[in-house]
Structure formats: structure tokens, C-alpha cells
Amino acid sequence: MAVTERIAEATREEVRRSLSGRRRDGRETAFSLVLLLTLVVALAVLVVLLLDVARTAVPLLKERGGQVLGNGYSSLPQNAGIKQGLVGSLYLMVFVLVLAVPLGIGAAIYMEEYARDTKLARFINTNIRNLAGVPAIVYGILGFAVFVQLLKPVTGPGTVEGKSLLAGGLTISLMVLPIIIITTQEALRSVPKSIREGGFGVGATRWEVIRSHVLPSAAPGILTGSVLAMARALGETAPLIMVGAVTGFLATPGGILASLQQRFTSLPTLIFAYVKKPEPQFQDLAAAAILVLMVLIFVVNLGAILMRNRYERKW
């Protein structure tokens, strides 16, 4: 009967609405607005920060953009620029790419593919997780003690006293290594077992299975993780300060190999040095450098996210 049907439908509708928790009253709306406000505040801080930085930096860049980007460090604010910071950061990224990424991937492959559940394997695993949580400055102390002091003849003989690009690059690579290991482990873990078993089934050895099946499948995740780690390394300052980046600036022209044992700097440490100076023009320069750094980091992060969305495979 029509009446019963309509009642049944109304009840169904009521039940459906109740099960979604959508009972709206004044306090509910107020509550959700308060929560939304906290989210907006948390997100808006960055926007406010960037706008504030841009307010100073954009006019400066429009006025002397080429000079700012092209000049090196100088004690006169009208001549100073950020080129050495940019170049230094770039060189440090090369270190991360060449040292930390292969070592990190190798370590993750061992932990995920080869290691059996022994005490040693669990110890290494815990160890890696603890290393990921160690503050950056402790890595700076390690770099200072080992690369600057202990390995002084190798990293920076002469007046450099060990505070060279080599020491800085090694320190940053060590810092970023645990992050790369963990993200690569997750990428490898997401490859289903059946893929590996297909390889084993035709008689391949473990390395052959990894090389031909697991790595290509996990490549997008590994790539994303490494790129995100590099973005993190771009912004790090504390460990580089400990290894001498503030007091030294790239003095040598010529490529990265020539500067390995020379003093170095990076964009974040340059920002730190400029911020510490009292003259307001240096503060403006710091703002310009911050804008460049944020754009760089943002582009790298965006690249990683886009790569992940494009190449991600859903098993």
C-alpha cells in the first residue's frame, strides 16, 4: 500500500541520516566551525609568513634581481647577493644524490628483502628508526668530530681546517640517510609478494628478482621518498653551521670537484648569517633569499607529489 511504502521510505531516510551523524543543531555547527578555525590557523601561518617575506623580497628582487642572484657575499649590503648560497646548496644536493640515495636504497633492500627476523636485523631496524629521530644538530656534532676534526687532512687541509664542502656534504648525507631508508622500505613493502614469487618460481636468484621485478615496481615510491629527503636537506641549517658553513664561503670558481676541499656555504646558512646582521638591508636580503629557498623547496615537493600521483600503482 502507498501509505506503508511512504512510511517505509521516510524511515529509511531517517535511519540513513542518523547513521551518518548528521544531526545538526547549533552547537554542532559551532563545534565544527571551531575545529575549522584551528585548521585554518595552522595552515594560515605559512601564508602569512610567505606574504610577509614577499612584501620585502619582491620589490628588492624586482629592483636588483640579477645582482642579488648573481653576487656573492659581501659586507656591504648593496653589493651582497646569494649566489654562493645557491651554488653551495646545489653542490650539497649532488652529495645527497650520489651518496645517501644509493646507500639508503641498498640498506632498505637488505632490510626488506634479505634480512631474516634475527636479533641483529631487529636491532638494525630499531637503530634506523632512532637515527631518524635524532635532532639535526647532533648530526652536526658528529660531522664536526669526525669529518672536521678527525679527518682534517682528507676533508680540508691547510687553512680550511676541515670545514670544507666534503665535510658538509658527508654530514648532510648521513643526516638524510635514515629518512631515505625508511621511505624506501615502505615502497618495497608495498610490492605484493606474488610479484616476487613469480620470479622465484622461474628460478631466479633473489637479486635477480629484486632487480627485474621489485625495484621497477617500487621505483615511483622510492623516487618520491628520495626527492622529499632532498627537499628536507635543502632546508637544513644546524648541522652545516657546526661544520663551518657560516664562516666560509665558496671562494673557488670552477666545478664541484675543485671546491671539494674548500670552504662552502648553503642557502639556509646564508640566510642565517644575513639575519644575524643588524643592518636592515641585510634583513631584506635575507627575505629575498628566503623567498628563493621557499620557491626551490616548494618546487621540489610539488615535483615529488606530482610524480607520486602520476606513477603510483595501486595493486
Binding site: I124, N127, G133, P135
Partner: protein, 313 residues
Amino acid sequence: MAQAAIDSRITTEVLRGNPARLRRERAMRSLFFSAAFLSVVISAGIVFSLAGGAFDFLRKVNLSTLWSAGWFPRNNLFDVKTILAGTVIVAAIAMVVAAPLVLGAALYLSEYANPRARRFLKPILETLASVPSVVMGFFALAVISPDIVQRFFGSSVPLFNLMAAGLGVGLLVTPLVASVAEDAMHAVPDALREAAFGLGARRRTSSIRVVVPAAVSGITASIILGISRAVGETMIVAIVAGGTGGSLFNLNPLRGGQTMTAAITALATGSDQVRGAGPAYPSLFFVGLLLFGMTLGLNLLSERFVRRVRRQF
């Protein structure tokens, strides 16, 4: 039947496999193992360099100076409670700022935002977590300290104060902690929420009375992670907390102060840079050891909470 031309005898040589392949397999395995073992070497390096320097310091220092008026390395005053107080005050202010923002933002994203908004907002949150601390330090010096702290607390507050550092660290830490807390809340099975709705609960009731208690281990883990990050934060305090040249024991956040992390940077390169045979130089290893111990303890505690979450679901 024609005999098969292939010799079908199975010998032990055949079963043993191609030696070159096996050699390569063993080589790759040891290569990867050494990469993994490198992490242990790094840990050992950290512990040994910190312990060695700290031991050197404790040998050289006059132990009574570890409880004195303030932290003045150049004058041989190494009052540990000064730098500890600085670190604790900054971390406490940071968490007071961060905790409500984190809980609110995470709760909204996990319970109230529709899936499309969440897919859009979550990456933004994760991108925010990658703001470098030196950038936030600049913001703290240029905006937070003059426009917020000095305006709110009066003009007698110096430009370099612990409150501004604490606010900066709190804002820096919020996106990271919110992301982890939101993951914890989102992982609570829908069945629990639907059970609450089925009993007639409103969304806020189910959020506060069901989801948050279910996710409390994950939320606690994220907050402890935030504290650990705040304790280890260096650049913001180095820029805006003051304390260059040393500082007296100070519990007032509206004054300058010194934290453990800023003390280490000052000893290595900044105003307190000393070299030579005295206890001032190795004091940085001593402080580093303290810092390492604190953050290690916090991280292990956080991991214990994460393991509890995994056991529940």
C-alpha cells in the same frame, strides 16, 4: 620414438647452479648488508664522539661550576640548569601553542572534512611541515617578537626572548604533529563511528567520545614526537631566543635565555667559540650528549605508544 637429443641426466653440478650467478648473488647480498650495517656504524659514531667529548669535559671541568649562576662558557661557568630551563620553557610554550591547533586540525580533517577536501588539504599540511626552521626563525624575529610578544606583553620585553622562540617552534611543529595525529584518528575503524551513530550520537559526540579515546595512543605518540622535535630545534632559538654570550639562570619566558641546542651552536662557531685546552670547548659534547639522551628517551617513549596502537587494531 626418436631419442631426445638433450642429455637429461641431472647431476649435482646442474643442481648446484651456475657458480657465476651464485657469486654475484652473494656479492650483492654482502653489499646490501654493509649498507644496512652502516647505520649501526653511524649510531656508534654518534655515541662515541659525544661520550668521548663529554668525558673529556667532565675531566677538565670544575664540577661545582655545573651548578652556578648561569651559562657562561668563556668564564668557566657551566650551569646545566640554565640551558635545561631554556629548552624546557621553549618546548613547553611550543606544545601549549601546538596541542590545541593540532587536535582541532586533525579532528576536523579526519571527522568533518569530506574526502575531496581531505585529499586536497592533507598534502598542503605535509608541504607545510617542510618549512625550514631558519625561515620560521626569521619570521619569529621579524614578526612574532615585535608584533605579537612585545605588543601583547608590553614594551619592556626585549626583542630576543624565549616566548617568541617558543611560539615559533610551536607553529613550526604543528603541521608535522597534526599530520601524524590525523593519521592516527583516520585509522580508527569506521565500525566504531557507525556504532555510535547507530545509537543516536551526533558527530561531535562520536568524535570526542569514540574516535579520540580509540586513537589516544597515536595522538600521544604524535605529541611526544612534537616535544622531541621542539627540544631538538636549533635555528629558531639561535636567532630569536637571545643568550648570545651566555645567560643567567632564568625562568621568565619574557626574557632572553639559552637552550641546549643554541648553546651547542654558540660553542662551535658563535659568540662562545673557544678553542684550546680548557673545559669550554668540550662542553659542547657534554650538552650534545644530554640532548641526544633526552630526544632518544622521548622517541623510544613515542614508539612504545605506536606499538600499542598496532596491537589494538
